[in-house]
Amino acid sequence: MYTQGLDLLEPDRAGRGDRAALAELEARFQARIDADERIEPKDWMPEAYRRTLIRQISQHAHSEIVGMLPEGNWITRAPTLERKSVLIAKVQDEGGHGMYLYGAAETLGVSRDQLVAQLLSGAAKYSSIFNYPTPTWADVGAIGWLVDGAAIINQIPLCRCSYGPYARAMVRICKEESFHQRQGFDIMHALARGTQEQRRMAQEALDRWWWPSLMMFGPGDADSRHTAQSMRWKIKRFTNDELRQHFIDVTVPQADYLGLTIPDPQLRRDPESGHYRFGAIDWSEFQRVVNGEGPCNRERLEARRRAEEEGRWVREAAAAHAAKHRAREARA
């Protein structure tokens, strides 16, 4: 989206010791944010704002791409042709979301190749949720219902993010996410109304995905390193704990409707606030999975590296073909 790299002059010049000028630029930048103005690619922005956005948008893009893998696992084994068509469409959407987001990140002066290299080397993170396996068809339902449900709650406020290209990509993504969540709930609903064996599958999938879904909102506010600055910059509009609470409040009644039990013995509704109180999250598990020790971390990265490697000849052949045609047209 838009040409890149045009906005790199200003911070360099300011970085050469002109602190007063830099402070002036930063104050003007913050004033624009405070006035709810959007920042666009060629506008001056603090380097830290740019770096924060590149990190966040690219992690988000990588998550969409890696997120295709756990569900892709079930495309050939979907129980009906309709479920298969729906799942293909959903996985294709995830790929599309990755493309919108890489495009938004590229407006900040980083190349697609750099971003992909960061994913494949393990230098960049992606959402830890995708390092969990999908052993049954019910896991595909639980992902749509819970993981996409959590993603929607995380993503809706990002539609008002201060960085224009990111906000616009999120508007597009949010419009499509709702289909993802509903198809997941529909799978869970069918299983919950099915045979005893199917109900058991649905319950076990909920047991597997509940806690990892809560972890998707990130560490608690007291331990979140980036929250305060991101909120000042209006990259983030709500804290991790606020979003997590909202997710729990809307999801528990849905589980009740399905007749499934949330795997948290401490879960109960607080009549005064109307919020659900929940048990302690095992953050050591989160840290383990983020740092590469989840059940599928190695498998996911290997799948991405293999795709990159096996697609190389196609990319090179397409580029050679286009170069040959350009040369032929130039001669004609």
């Binding site: 838009y2 040409t3 294709q92 938004a104």
Partner: protein, 101 residues
């Protein structure tokens, strides 16, 4: 210059994508795609930006070929229009009795 870069860098060039949602409307910028040439850019734009019938026509243009105004010069560029409020119909006080004006 952009041609040279395309032939030396292995990364496919970036194209900006514009889509006409339906006939009667203008093409609107929706995002970007990487592609080896314009034809492939249109195919990629179709897959990435029109999975739900969002368009009836696609334009693509090499991002490197877009010339944009500099935000740092926005004041100099747009300021001259600021004090010419008489260009707006609301500038003029028309008596209430006068109709169709």
């Amino acid at each position: 210059m952009s041609e040279d870069r395309a032939s030396t860098s292995k990364e496919w060039p970036l194209y900006e994508v514009f889509i006409r949602a339906r006939s009667g409307l203008e093409h609107k910028h929706v995002g970007s795609v990487h592609a080896v040439d314009a034809r492939m850019a249109i195919e990629h734009a179709r897959d990435v930006y029109t999975r739900r019938q969002e368009g009836v026509s696609i334009w693509v243009v090499r991002s490197a070929d877009i010339v944009a105004s500099d935000p740092a010069e926005a004041d100099a560029l747009f300021e001259p229009a600021r004090d010419k409020v008489y260009r707006h119909p609301t500038f003029y006080d028309i008596p209430d009795e006068v109709k169709n004006l």
